[in-house]
């Protein structure tokens, strides 16, 4: 009887711990260096992509006028299907040549489990880049400087 209670309690405790472990997350400083493109400020959205290549969570939105969100087509589809409150993780759009530093929060369990960070970008009346930058969420991937293909020159991450 006692043993059962003991194991049950231990089990519950372990379960609780492991639950806490999954909920454990870390903050990262994320630096975005834009290339010297001409035009309006770019709207950039940072999303967490799972191993299947699907959107899982919006981590940061640079650009605060909702009117332009539909120009980030793929993310817009996801965000319309599963709307989440992004007001706390919304900042200003970034202009060509500028640097933007933001902090994003990633759950520790996502690291080294096939997840990726996707930076997609759009500029008024110009091309839309679904995959401007994609960073594999591995220890090495986070440490590296990731070059961009579109308006972003490179992205650097650093754990706080």
């Amino acid at each position: 009887m006692k043993a059962i209670i003991k194991t049950a309690l231990t089990g519950a405790f372990i379960l609780l711990l492991s639950f806490q472990a999954t909920a454990q997350s870390s903050k990262y400083k994320c630096m975005l260096q834009m290339s010297n493109y001409m035009g309006e400020g770019a709207y950039v959205v940072v999303s967490l992509i799972n191993a299947k290549g699907e959107y899982e969570k919006t981590l940061y939105v640079m650009g605060d006028d909702k009117k332009w969100y539909n120009s980030l087509k793929e993310w817009y589809k996801f965000n319309s299907k599963k709307p989440s409150n992004i007001s706390a993780i919304t900042g200003a759009s970034v202009t060509g040549g500028d640097r933007s530093i933001t902090t994003i929060e990633i759950e520790n369990s996502k690291i080294n489990h096939g997840y990726k960070l996707r930076f997609e970008s759009a500029v008024e009346d110009q091309k839309y880049h679904v995959n401007d930058v994609e960073i594999p969420l591995t220890t090495a991937g986070i440490a590296a400087k990731s070059e961009g293909k579109g308006y972003i020159r490179y992205v650097r991450l650093s754990k706080i």
Partner: protein
């Protein structure tokens, strides 16, 4: 010639861009208010200028483990982006001396974002921006053509800020505000054009290289944090990590420098290109973001643009309405009709004739006497003219006599002069007579008919000329008087409230009328009545008495207007028209005003005194023939007004009493007072008979010459002498 060029450009540009300008100025005003509001929260710390960069950096590093960016905006509010000791994001205004958070930045509301989008690009993206850019450039041209028009109107740059002659509300304020708002509007338009064009990279190409290659000559120099004031900096980007390859980036007003985070050595220095600086300056000037007062001026200028659109179109419509429309040119026409008219009634008669001649298949041209030129195909010259004052030319005929001397016609032309006027004046049709005799001396001119005169716009008398001329030229013209009769439309009903009676000694009576609730008038305006329900119009000066219209009328034995009015009983209604007579309103600014009248001319003054709630110093000088019931009434009124301090002095002159005084004598007695009054910008208003006006002006002129060493005309030009005489 140049005047019409500027006027047409000004108008055409305005018409073309009006819709856009309305949107831009409404949104611009809203944005200006927003810009001012942004200045209101006091996130600017005192002694901001004395805080150094080193001081701030030290205090920030002590308080925050991770700092990403510090920016200092145009309001000198310092924003910090960092992570605090508990791992929370910090984004707020700080006190740069203590690193304490003193406020949170407010994001632009959706409404302001919406307004900004509309203002910049009308929600049409690039196309919209292009359109906005073109229209702001048009605004530059409008401002320039407007400037040229003001110079034209004021007769030269030197008189740019001289007094503007007030014709009517829209005209006066269009010019007055135009002068004041010219500079802000030019700045708005030029900076707006620049900002729009910048989006199309018109200015970028040349400077591309400069931004790409940072100048490294400054290597080995260190950045002196201790002696750099925070006010010089616009943004500090903190090193991303502790790696010595990650630098501080300081953005100053004119350059961007990268600094080693340990040694403070300047790694690279990049001067901003002139385009960048220019675009910054344009933004400052266009948005007023750097200065609340400037933002306020910009807001006012935007509101002004709205007013200009309204008043500009009001002016255009007014001009169009009174413009003469011609089917045939002066060069090709056989019949030339020239008009000299003060208020448009002679023009009406001329137009009726013009229409009939053209309907007969002939070429005819109508013009103002001042536009007299050569008429190569002309066979008939018809001149319809009224007379102004005592035998002078009406305003649109003032240059005719000299034009006649310089423009000789090449062929023989038959002429006929028709004079319009009123027999109640001594120089009945004086100007028409002058023209008629002047034309006789020209060898090309042949008098077809003797001078015809038309008293009091009488259609019957006009028809007698029509018959004679028609007989001479074989052009059938209508001889029915009603064709030439014109009753104005939109007359207002007023009701008789009270009327005094005349006696053997006193022929003047006071009539009080109640105007419609919505009608706006003040003392000095004119009331037009149409006693016989035809062309004939009678004007009376209005005095505003307890909100009603008060007239002083002298009953003439066969007077059309006075008899009509005297036969009215309280409760009767009549059709009238109130004519705004702005040139004879009580001056708003003058500290001392003298009112001079004779006879019934006192009527508007009674109202002005009654309305003098501001207690302006008023001196009333009035002349009458003899003491009667009505002068007793005036004296009683004056006594009441003096008690209320609405009137300071009342001087009376009776020409038929024992000392035979006229108002001129009263003025002569107070010569010193008048001289000082005029010197101190006081205003003199004269109402009554024309002869009295001339006598008074003569006396005043002598006083001015003797005491002020100048002539009365100088004070007239400054608007210190206002007259309404008949």
């Amino acid at each position: 010639m140049t005047l019409s060029f500027w006027r047409y450009s000004h108008l055409a540009l305005a018409v073309f861009s009006a819709a856009f300008l309305i949107i831009a100025s409404v949104t611009g005003t809203i944005l200006a208010v927003d810009a001012i509001q942004q200045k209101i929260p006091p996130h600017r710390v005192e002694n901001f200028e004395n805080i150094t960069l080193g001081q701030t950096l030290a205090v920030l590093k002590k308080n925050y483990p991770e700092i990403t960016e510090v920016s200092i905006d145009h309001n000198q509010f310092v924003t910090l982006q960092a992570i605090d000791n508990d791992g929370n994001d910090v984004n707020g205004y700080i006190n740069p001396a203590t690193a304490k958070i003193i406020g949170t930045p407010v994001k632009k509301s959706d409404f302001i974002n919406w307004v900004t989008g509309l203002h910049r690009s009308l929600f049409l993206h690039e196309t919209g921006r292009l359109f906005v850019g073109i229209n702001s450039f048009l605004l530059v041209l409008i401002a320039i053509s407007g400037f040229a028009l003001v110079i034209n109107r004021q007769r030269g740059l030197r008189n740019f800020f001289a007094k503007i002659i007030k014709e009517y509300f829209a005209q006066y304020y269009h010019v007055l505000l135009g002068r004041l708002a010219l500079i802000p509007i030019l700045i708005i338009a030029i900076s707006g054009t620049y900002l729009s064009m910048e989006r199309f990279h018109l200015f970028e190409n040349k400077n591309e290289n400069q931004t790409e290659t940072p100048t490294t000559t400054a290597a080995k120099k260190t950045f002196d944090l201790k002696n750099t004031s925070l006010a010089e900096v616009t943004k500090i980007e903190f090193p991303f990590s502790e790696d010595p390859e990650d630098y501080y980036i300081f953005e100053l007003k004119d350059r961007k420098i990268e600094v080693n985070q340990y040694s403070n050595e300047i790694i690279s220095e990049e001067l901003f290109s002139t385009t960048q600086l220019l675009s910054d300056l344009s933004l400052d000037l266009h948005t007023g973001r750097a200065n609340g007062i400037w933002a306020f001026i910009l807001g006012l200028a935007s509101l002004n643009i709205l007013f200009f659109i309204y008043s500009g179109f009001a002016m255009t419509f007014k001009r169009r309405a009174s413009r003469i429309k011609n089917k045939f040119t002066a060069q090709e026409s056989k019949y030339i009709l020239l008009v000299g008219s003060e208020n448009g009634s002679s023009l009406r008669f001329a137009n009726a004739i013009l229409k009939q001649i053209i309907d007969n298949g002939e070429k005819a041209h109508l013009a103002q006497l001042n536009n007299y030129t050569s008429y190569p195909k002309a066979e008939h010259l018809l001149i319809f003219t009224s007379t102004y004052g005592l035998g002078d030319a009406p305003s649109n005929a003032s240059k005719f006599v000299s034009l006649l001397e310089t423009n000789n016609q090449q062929q023989h032309i038959n002429y006929s002069v028709i004079g319009f006027g009123s027999k109640s004046y001594p120089d009945f049709c004086g100007f028409a007579k002058e023209i008629d005799t002047l034309l006789e001396t020209k060898n090309w001119a042949n008098r077809l008919l003797a001078l015809h005169t038309v008293n009091d716009k009488s259609a019957e008398e006009f028809v007698s000329w029509v018959k004679s001329w028609s007989a001479q030229t074989d052009i059938p013209l209508s001889t029915t008087p009603s064709v030439y009769n014109h009753i104005p439309k939109g007359l207002q009903q007023v009701m008789v409230l009270d009327k005094t009676t005349v006696s053997e000694k006193e022929q003047t009576f006071l009539l009080t009328l109640r105007a419609g609730i919505r009608s706006k008038f003040t003392s000095g305006d004119l009331l037009a009545i149409y006693p016989a329900n035809d062309n004939r119009e009678r004007l009376y000066s209005i005095g505003k008495h307890t909100g009603n219209i008060q007239l002083a009328v002298k009953l003439h034995p066969n007077g059309l207007g006075s008899a009509f009015l005297y036969n009215l009983k309280p409760g009767d209604t009549i059709k009238t028209q109130i004519i705004n007579n702005h040139a004879f309103h009580f001056p708003k600014k003058a500290r001392q005003v003298v009112l001079i009248s004779n006879g019934t001319g006192i009527a508007p003054f009674l109202g002005m005194i009654e309305q003098n709630k501001k207690k302006t110093e008023i001196h009333l000088y009035s002349g009458f023939r003899q003491k009667t019931e009505i002068t007793a009434h005036y004296e009683k009124f004056a006594a009441e007004m003096r008690q209320k301090q609405y009137l300071s002095q009342f001087h009376l002159a009776y020409s038929r009493e024992e000392n035979h005084h006229y108002v001129m004598d009263l003025i002569q007695m107070d010569a010193d007072f008048f001289a000082i009054l005029l010197q101190n910008d006081g205003v003199i208003m004269i109402c009554g008979a024309l002869a009295m006006q001339f006598d008074v002006e003569k006396v005043l002129d002598t006083i001015c010459i003797a005491k002020n060493n100048t002539t009365l005309s100088e004070y007239k030009a400054k608007g210190q002498i206002l007259t309404d005489c008949y």
